[in-house]
Amino acid sequence: MYLYPVWIRLWHIINAILFIILIVTGLSMQYTDKQDYILVVSFARAVKWHNISAVLLTVNYIFFVTSNLISENGRYYRISKKNFGSDLFKQLRYYSWNMFKGEKHPFPVTTERKFNPLQKFSYVLAMYFAFPLLILSGLGLMFPETIINRIFGISGLVLTDILHITMGFCLTIFMVIHIYTCTLGARPSSLFKGIISGYHESE
């Protein structure tokens, strides 16, 4: 089943590469020390590559949002209130219990339903909540003169940074879970192959 058009695959791989660079350089900046450790990028290089990757990621994100607005792909991200809680619970129950008993997937992938309810919910949270906050706070740190100096007695820069690293951390956790759940396809490698070839292998 052809599920992932070229633009989605391109956006996805660019997003993944940039996000990994941003995690490594972000951690390097946050945990840099007077002695540069082997696995940590030096501070000056980390700042440079973090900034470059961040600008590219922002452009890539704008491309993603715009494409979803003008293409059919946007419909996969629309959450319906109808059965929202019960579907989410059903999917959670499948991942935590029923799949071990060999039961069938409660929401099999079709061209009309690319994401299961849990996927859809987490993707919407990641792409339409965490990502904008991450990008806005990142822009704030890149142009500190745009940040309000003090908010309730605390430095605006500190709060912006806390927001930025919190969103960065949440999205890193999302990425770890995302990579793991991608091993839950027909075979552990099926979904990885799918996002490269565009074809989804049904269970």
Binding site: S137, I154, L159
Partner: protein, 327 residues
Amino acid sequence: MKLPVFRLVLTAGLIALSFSAAAAGFRNQNGEKETQDTTSFTSPFYEDNERCFECHGQERYEYKNDNLGTQVKALMCENRRIGRDDFYSSNHKYFSCTDCHSSDYVTFPHPGQLRMEQMYTCIDCHGGDEKFAKFSFEEIETEYQKSTHFSLEKDGFTCWKCHNPHSYKISIRNTENLKETIVFDNTICLSCHSDFRRFQLLSDLEEINILEKHDWLPNQASHFGSVRCIECHTMQNDTILVAHLIRPKEESVKQCNECHSKNSLLMATLYKFQSREQRRDGFVNGIILNESYVIGANRNRYLNILSLVVFGIVILIIGIHIFFRTK
């Protein structure tokens, strides 16, 4: 152009995260709030000092030339002019002019040889005095004698080139606003290093363009507004609050992670006083309440632990899931 929409969105996001914090006031060793000035201060030597300020306190002064019998109006030379308000709000406001200057100055015209008067330096009054022990003037003098500035003493460099005795105010201990201290201290350096008229009085070097010299520094404006020149250009010293050992330019700090790291040198320099005071109040991260934010130095131990715990739980859940999948 500022981005009002961006600011609004950012503010809305930040408000959700923000919490009010009691701004820690900086207190002296007795736990009392220190206050700098004193608009109500009246000097016991006001009348005596006024005889000097009558001419030296203004741009234009008048005197009677007894030989010619005429009233003369003249402009006071810029570096002989002392602002009354500056003096009476300075740390030296309690003094009479003639405490430091020769009493022969009371005569006018001033005797010519007074121009050669030996000026006091800080250590002459403050050295060896228990009352000023906490300021470690002896250590400051030792540092100064090792600094590059000391090599200019033969050309006339003294404490007064940086610290004007007529307007000197102690800064870092007395302000809650670190930005004020940064501007105050950087103005001292820039008064010579960005004013070639003054600079060439002490050096034969060519004029320096500070901005060009520092063009390697990312976000230059942010750095200049957030740290003092002395953070990078002096040798750290744990025993005094403000380091005075100015290093040659080749030895200045150029590695980002000297400041942007867990053991940021700023904790031993710019943030030393504030962080020491805040630690007294039990505050764990001395930098967080400051005006500035330093990537790599603003680490919160609890957030670090929390992030590791959350990450560990996620990995554990994945491990358990793999176990049951493969069972």
